[in-house]
């Protein structure tokens, strides 16, 4: 793994990213209430949408003409959206705070760890958290009757993939931020995706021209991928979703490492 990284055009590291993950885990043990509370957001949404709005909506077209109850339609989208929100929350606010105020990375980079370790370590941590959120949400959704296929087990790695894509790019973006006020701009990118990536209503509700725009956004692919898995409709189109998100994650990871290198090792 470390050797492969040495020949690739990625920033320097010592293959010691796990030590940073361990550090985050130790810090997490003191702030776990906060992080655990993040799990409730999608559950509240699932309840509001599935139970409250679902009664008004009835059945929805989930893609290829198959009609499903609204809760079944919206649950996978909420899983994908919470993977995005969780990843962005951790990788941007957290990394911004560590860079600007806690100066954590200055001391990390004074050890054998390199910028790649920082990037990989922070992103891995975001993914681990995302995985735990996803598992908890999947359990709740199953109990609520919103899961209909065994393929749904694969939504765990799928949610992790969504988390990777957003965490890595989000962390790179965080390195450009100057003040907390800049986070409002990030919100401006995240919120439309949350609302309009075929999360709460199907793609067919849009005019044809807008459909193309929606399909270009990363969360759309995350939602479509997880929805197909949860409904057990696995087709070749899945490869497109996975490919899109994997490329985004890889680009974001390298970008983040480069940025950390530029900011801290000048």
């Amino acid at each position: 793994m470390a050797r492969l990284a040495d020949v690739l055009p990625v920033p320097a590291g010592a293959g010691m990213a796990r030590t940073l993950v361990e550090r985050n885990y130790r810090s997490f043990r003191r702030t776990w209430t906060i992080i655990v509370s993040g799990f409730f957001e999608p559950v509240f949404y699932l309840f509001a949408m599935g139970v409250g709005v679902g009664a008004l909506v009835g059945d929805v077209d989930a893609g290829d003409g198959r009609l499903v109850p609204y809760a079944v339609f919206v649950a996978p989208a909420l899983l994908a959206a919470s993977a995005m929100n969780g990843a962005v929350f951790d990788s941007t606010t957290n990394v911004f705070f560590k860079l600007k105020y806690a100066k954590l990375y200055d001391s990390v980079l004074a050890t054998p760890l390199g910028p790649r370790d920082v990037a990989v370590g922070e992103i891995t941590w975001a993914l681990l958290r995302g995985l735990v959120y996803a598992a908890a949400f999947l359990l709740v959704a199953t109990l609520a009757g919103a899961v209909t296929s065994w393929w749904a087990v694969l939504t765990l790695p799928a949610a992790t993939l969504v988390g990777w894509a957003f965490a890595s790019v989000g962390m790179a973006v965080a390195t450009y931020m100057r003040t907390w006020a800049d986070f409002d701009w990030l919100q401006l990118a995240i919120l439309p995706m949350f609302l309009f990536s075929a999360t709460f209503f199907p793609l067919s509700a849009y005019p044809a021209a807008v459909q193309g725009v929606v399909q270009a956004t990363p969360l759309y692919h995350g939602v479509a991928m997880i929805r197909d898995l949860m409904l057990g409709q696995v087709t070749g189109g899945m490869a497109v979703h996975v490919g899109y998100l994997a490329v985004m994650g890889a680009v974001g990871t390298v970008w983040t490492g480069r940025r950390i290198e530029r900011l801290l090792l000048r």
């Binding site: 309840f47 139970v51 409002d184």
Partner: protein, 275 residues
């Protein structure tokens, strides 16, 4: 330097207007000077986000609801949801302006300590802060209502009054957020408030669906919150189906929350700062 001889100064003669200080308007003025530098960022959270919710929920999800159940509460879903988002926006802006800024003024940059070393009293600090929040909430509510009206979601001239009602509901909540935050030692409690109170209130207070869709045991909880009453009145006003006594009852209840909240907030801040 204007600090000329005051050796053995007029020891027992209090100085005229200065002895009373600038009162709460001086505190409000402080928050506005601060806000001048950051209003642009808040435009996203206070103006754009609610409009995105209105369009996403009202128009997109609304098509499903109107197809499925022929609307909600007897009207197209967009008209149902617009006053809900209005009241929820007021609530969220109010919570946003009375949590981290209160904690920061007590613990981080400690500006409250500076204020209280002058003639100002805790009541000036609380009221001055809340008046600033009032203006912020009023701006956000008015802009939202104007755009919502332009989208055709307001059926009656009564709807103009929906903005002040939303502001009242927001302020009732702001006072309690203030009192809660003024007791906190760390900002973790704020995250808990936002996730376990603000978020569920925004979703379940009759904003996106009528509360009679909730399980029976949860409905009384919704009735107890100020947001549900605010939403009910805002919706009655924008749809033009006003029952005067119901409106008076709702508003009286929300006003009670506001008054009690301010009293508690002043007490909590006094106990926190004057030790």
């Amino acid at each position: 330097m204007a600090v000329e001889d005051r050796v053995g100064a007029d020891v027992d003669v209090p100085v005229g207007p200065v002895a009373r200080g600038g009162g709460w308007p001086a505190v409000t003025a402080h928050w506005f000077v601060r806000y001048r530098r950051m209003w642009f960022g808040t435009a996203v959270s206070s103006f754009l986000a609610p409009l995105l919710y209105l369009v996403g929920m009202g128009w997109g999800l609304g098509r499903l609801v109107d197809d499925g159940a022929g609307g909600a509460g007897g009207v197209p879903y967009l008209l149902f949801v617009a006053p809900g988002v209005l009241a929820a926006t007021a609530l969220q802006v109010a919570a946003g302006e009375t949590t981290f800024s209160v904690m920061g003024s007590i613990k981080w940059d400690r500006t409250y300590h500076g204020m209280l070393s002058t003639p100002l009293a805790p009541v000036d600090v609380v009221v001055g802060h809340l008046v600033f929040v009032l203006v912020r909430v009023a701006l956000a509510s008015s802009v939202f209502l104007a755009v919502a009206a332009a989208l055709g979601t307001v059926r009656s001239w009564w709807g103009v009054l929906a903005a002040p009602v939303a502001v009242l509901g927001g302020m009732a909540f702001a006072a309690w957020c203030y009192a809660y935050t003024a007791r906190l030692e760390t900002d973790r409690g704020i995250t808990v408030l936002l996730r376990f109170v603000v978020m569920p209130l925004s979703l379940f207070s009759g904003t996106f669906f009528p509360v009679d869709q909730l399980p029976v045991w949860l409905q009384p909880v919704a009735w107890a919150t100020p947001l549900w009453h605010t939403v009910e009145v805002c919706r009655a006003l924008t749809l033009g189906v006003v029952e005067p006594w119901a409106v008076v009852g709702h508003l009286a209840f929300v006003t009670l929350w506001l008054v009690a909240g301010v009293v508690v907030a002043v007490r909590v801040l006094t106990r926190r700062m004057v030790v």
